[in-house]
Amino acid sequence: MSRLLEVEGVSFSYVGRSVLNSVTFSAGEGEFLALLGINGSGKSTLLDIISGFRNPETGSVSVTGRNQRHWKLREIARQVSHLPQSIHADLPFTAEQLVAMGRYPHTDRWFESEEDHKFVRQAMERTSCWVQRHRAFASLSGGERQRVLLAACLAQDASTLLLDEPSTFLDIEQQLHCFSVLREEARTGKLCIAATHDLNLALTYCTRLIVLADGVIAHDIHTAQAHDNEDWLALFSTRLSMGATPAGTPWVWYQ
């Protein structure tokens, strides 16, 4: 497994309030990381820094072994795609136009090529939103929008996918489908990092859990070992306990 991402001593603060404090971890091909933590724990900020949207105050991020500072933004975008937590959707782009924007870092052509169009179609079919391709994004439901945005991420064809709460607004079936798609992406050799509040989705689909608390990585555990030490659960609520599904998958119960 080759390393795709190395985060080394990354710190960041907003107006004097420390959000991340010397965060260090690395991840490689085939991993599906769940980035966990309570609200305000720095999950989105960490994803922003990895995607190159924000610069860390200290520390560094390396993508495929090369320091991010030495990449052009467009080069990073070919390696790392980012699904943001929210976007303004007032302008009436169609679903297909939004997904096609994922091809931006790959081409300088005025219009996308046939190959780009194939990527767009495949991504939209995988996230079950091809039928909505001609509809204005603003007219879609929350769940439909989230699927379109996920398709835009897939169409970018990057080796690392950063997803900020990808299952927001999705119904149960679509949540499962979304995480299945991401797990499949990881199995094809990509690295997926999803910030999520759904512990059971993380335990079911992800290979590794990174728990942020007070700006540091409080726990970095493989999902299969989530049973061994339940201290990480206490960071979310004292009303949680660990069990297992009949198939043996770790499962969090709410009391």
Binding site: D90, A100, E112
Partner: protein, 334 residues
């Protein structure tokens, strides 16, 4: 979206817009309070030949170029601020140009080295505001649409206050000139000035259009654009500088004509395509055509008096704006 993915109407909309633009350029000079004889023009006989060549054609061309520039600037600002109701004037450039022009009118300066001082004042005011807004918007060596908007609105208000103060002390006749300039109008201009404006608009518009794919991304969101390889701060600064050059150049010759930068981009976006590769050229050509049409309408509606093109546009644009606000879906976040 691939070129093949565009509908028939969308694919030919740019061509159609160019044809409308050319149609306006050839037909509208013939529209005016008095008829012009084609035969007399062909024989170079006065006054028909002189009226057409020296007054009507230059005036129509000015309306086409200035209207196109203002419409394109509106499209650009709407993408940068992610607000379909943003106008070329939202970020204070118009107020700066107006303050410069009003100061010149109030002082009674006429010309400097043959160049009307009012143009120099408008350009100086616009670029003064440009530097202030960009300087005031940088925070932690980064710039965002939000900081541009807030700084622009603040400077807009300061300029508006100074305009009122200058108007109050300018005396009756100069106050009237100030009010007339502020509503915006198309007057016959020299071909030299027109050529200079056309060159500036052509270069600036081309630079803006080359970035059409990036404007698409920025119109969705700054984080969205950055994670697809766009240098957001650099693009916003470029957009503001280029948009300001367009607006300053146009209104130095016409005064601050409103609404063309609002109506046309909105219509094209909703009826043809929100994709800036289509939207921007269509907005330019149709914006120029609309302003030239309004100017021609102003010439014939109450002859021999002429309504300023800015007033005709405001009469059309005001009700249209109310309609837009009533139809508008609120900004949605997901």
């Amino acid at each position: 979206m691939s070129a093949q993915g565009f509908s028939f109407g969308t694919r030919y909309s740019v061509t159609l817009s160019v044809l409308i633009f050319l149609g306006a350029a050839f037909l509208l000079p013939w529209v005016g309070a008095g008829p012009i004889s084609l035969v007399r023009v062909l024989r170079h006989e006065s006054p028909d030949y002189d009226i057409l060549l020296q007054l009507r054609i230059s005036r129509t061309l000015l309306a086409l170029v200035a209207g196109g520039a203002l419409s394109l600037a509106g499209t650009l600002l709407q993408a940068m601020l992610r607000d379909a109701l943003a106008t070329p004037y939202t970020l204070g450039i118009s107020a700066g140009a107006s303050l410069g022009a009003v100061a010149v009118i109030a002082a009674g300066w006429e010309a400097f080295l043959g160049v009307p001082m009012i143009w120099i004042g408008a350009l100086a005011g616009a670029f003064g505001v440009l530097i202030l807004v960009i300087g005031g918007s940088f925070r932690r060596r980064q710039i965002s649409a939000f900081s541009l908007l807030l700084t622009g609105i603040a400077i807009n208000s300061v300029c508006a206050a100074f305009i009122i103060i200058l108007s109050s002390f300018a005396g009756m006749s100069r106050s009237f000139s100030i009010a007339r300039w502020l509503i915006g109008s198309i007057d016959a201009t020299s071909y030299r000035s027109l050529g200079a404006l056309t060159a500036v608009v052509l270069i600036t518009s081309t630079l803006i259009l080359f970035q059409a794919r990036s404007w698409n991304l920025l119109a969705v969101g700054e984080r969205w654009a950055a994670s697809r390889g766009v240098h957001v701060g650099r693009l916003l600064t470029q957009g503001y500088v280029l948009g300001s050059i367009l607006v300053a150049g146009a209104i130095a010759l016409t005064g601050p004509i409103g609404f063309v930068g609002l109506i046309v981009p909105h219509l094209v976006r909703s009826r043809i395509s929100p994709d800036h590769r289509i939207l921007m050229p269509c907005a330019f050509f149709l914006g120029g055509s609309l302003l030239a049409f309004c100017d021609a309408l102003g010439r014939i509606v109450m002859p021999p008096a002429e309504l300023p093109a800015g007033a005709v546009l405001a009469l059309i644009g005001g009700p249209y704006l109310v309609w837009v606000i009533r139809q508008r879906i609120p900004v949605e976040e997901i």
